[in-house]
Symmetry: C2
Subunit: 210 residues, 2 copies
Amino acid sequence: MKRKGILIVVSGFSGAGKGTVMKELLNCYDNYALSISATTRKPREGEQNGREYFFKTIEEFEKMIAKDELIEYARYVGNYYGTPRSYVEKQLEAGKDVILEIEIQGALKVKKKYPETLLLFITPPNAKELKRRLIGRGTETMEVIESRMRRAAEEAEGMSDYDYIVVNDHLDICVEETHNIIQSEHNRVFRNEDLMNQIEEELRGEAKGE
Amino acid sequence: MKRKGILIVVSGFSGAGKGTVMKELLNCYDNYALSISATTRKPREGEQNGREYFFKTIEEFEKMIAKDELIEYARYVGNYYGTPRSYVEKQLEAGKDVILEIEIQGALKVKKKYPETLLLFITPPNAKELKRRLIGRGTETMEVIESRMRRAAEEAEGMSDYDYIVVNDHLDICVEETHNIIQSEHNRVFRNEDLMNQIEEELRGEAKGE
């Protein structure tokens, strides 16, 4: 029986290390595909179209919205960001588990449209560690760090809307836990209706002595 | 933060091999405890009180019912079978994941009383394989085998009430999947409210610059 892929949304506080976790997950296992977002923001130094993002003009992006070609989209600091549907659906059909890295509002929109979506939230073990990591990056002013911490405090209220929480304390453990969670989800009863119907039918046949 | 144990009910068709899977699971990993049922049926050759079952008189058993000392109980072919509460709760408090091997009616009763119970259903890959295993035991008449197959056909209708389905095709894989499912369940959001509240509180504190 062909196994269908699972759509997974991964969110987490800025500084939780979810980018690194996803990179490791894709390095270590070959059944995952990472969704690539479309955006109207300008490419940064070193970013490639089709790798970090699909870079679109506002006109192109709004055409995608009109044609319902995006699973979700949002406007953030004047730019559009969205998830192209076709790539995701193609990968799911091929049996890949597809990961979207988006924030909470987008996550809830996706779950509403695709109720079987798996929502994962990645968090550092505690707030002090989050702050330590943001400072450790060395790329941001204290002001930006404080604003990220305030944002995290807001986002934390949304954690309970997720299905699973994964603590990113040790990278290897976090990657393995994330992998196990996703793979275990393949055993959920509601994802195995075909298998159950088949067994039920066979058993009815056997019971009748067919 | 102390991790609380999960209560797990494992069911499956007679002949699905769930006894072997549970034995292997307890052999391979040390965070599990198997619940021992109380029964009024007579011990069979080689069975020990407190190992296979707690053997009770009908009077003793009915006293346990009256004192609400059983998580669930049922009468089956004239005998009582039930799950003593105290052992289960002690193990859960100690952080052990406690496994009850009971059939579907009992499973649903437990889930109603303890909504956080995890329900696992173990099945062979198909009905032919189930029959083959029942015949392979060599201990049962064809009549008994046919009646077990009919019972399986009835039980199959209850599969959709479970949380997860695990196919027991290769024992090692089945044991590993079962283990991963249970461990992944520890990451479920509703099992981590303390952790989430703690992080939320800390973040609020940090955001205020405390």
